[in-house]
């Protein structure tokens, strides 16, 4: 896959262990625009914005978006839990709502990227 100006390379597949999350495009307050999660060896990208309130940041510490059991993405405002692959909230104040997806692409050499047009 050829990279274009529209591609934003985030990391390599080996940079994250299974069940890890990592945030990207940090603002001046130290908060990420989006994060990726490696779950069942797949990569998923989500906006760092819990649907319980406008743009609520979700991690409790930089890059820490998973619950302690590393089974669900969590919003560490009130403990809402989301399915890592579908983004569906299965517990918490935004029950039934879904995280905003950022499509993630993995190329033949394992580089994980998103498209600029998907986040603007």
């Amino acid at each position: 896959m050829m990279l274009t100006e529209n591609d934003v390379v985030l990391c390599h597949v080996d940079d994250l262990k299974e069940g890890d999350t990592k945030g990207f495009l940090e603002n001046e307050a130290g908060q990420d625009l989006l994060f990726v999660v490696k779950f069942n060896d797949e990569f998923y990208g989500w906006r760092n914005a819990c649907p319980h309130v406008n743009n609520a940041p979700m991690a409790w510490r930089k890059d820490a978006y998973m619950d302690a059991k590393k089974q669900h993405v969590a919003c560490h405002a009130h403990g809402a839990l989301f399915e890592p692959g579908s983004g569906l909230c299965i517990q918490g104040p935004c029950l039934g709502k879904t995280l905003e997806k950022v499509p993630v692409y993995v190329n033949s050499i394992g580089m994980v990227s998103i498209l600029l047009t998907d986040i603007n």
Binding site: P57, K62, A68, H76, A77, H78, Q91, G92
Partner: protein, 317 residues
Amino acid sequence: MKIVGLETIIFGVEDVASCATFLTDYGLFPVNVTETGGRFEALDGTAVVLAHASDKSIPASIGNGCMMRKTVMGVADTATIQAITEELSKDREVRQLADGSIESTDDSGFVIGFQVTTRKELNLAGEISNVPGSPFQRPVNHRAVQLEAGPIRPRTLSHIVYFVPDPVKAEAFYVERLGFRCTDRFEGAGPFLQPAGTLDHHTHFLIGAPPFMQGVEHFTFHFGGPTEVMQNGYQFIEKGYQAFWGPGRHIMGSNWFWYFNSPFACHIEMDADMDLHDQNWSPRAFPMGADNSQAFLLRYRSKWSPGKDTPHNGDYE
């Protein structure tokens, strides 16, 4: 009933080590902490207590992912323990624990405890501003900003905020059974509550919410003043922790605030300079909303002045 305030809040967590780091970085003193939990104390000895989620010695979770297992209130004397025991025994179980405290359940299902307070009396001046014409000034040559002065320490447990399914019933329990007073109210949300043994604007705030949300919105410790809140919050962010709201100043209670996400399925706040009220105070009621919650909100700026690196177009943000 002379309930003086919060004594300890007990959490059951999966990742004790991460939670311990979080509370230590917040400024609390770890006391007898092992890989299975321990105490994290403020300057006066009030504390957050951590235990592993599977620990059978702490009360069970109420569900909904709530990690807060028990709120212990400090009382002035054993007579108050006796009075609460008699009152609550009328319609619910009151357990006598080996440490002399009692344990029961409030009308929302939260486990509550009461013990004779062991908080240490603090004799530490808070933040004093040099104000022209004011009789209260900092001593000459005392600096307001001392960045080299080591970690900032929370002074005492301040308040806890519960999501409750029936705020009217929840309020009635604290007011009618435990002698709390409503000091102010968010209409359609719930009351700020003050027990009889303190003048703090609130030690509890209740927010009505659907049953699937029952749990904790936040808890917080009092700090020595707005500068400590700002400085400690800023250092917290530098360590990678994630702010949610603040720094700013509330209208009801007037306390400075800065809210952060936490690994406890609720927010944690840093607060300072809360109003004190007695029986001469008349509660106010405001509609719930941001406009009635924040007198002002501050914003961080990473660059604040043009300088030698300023480009020709003058941008410096």
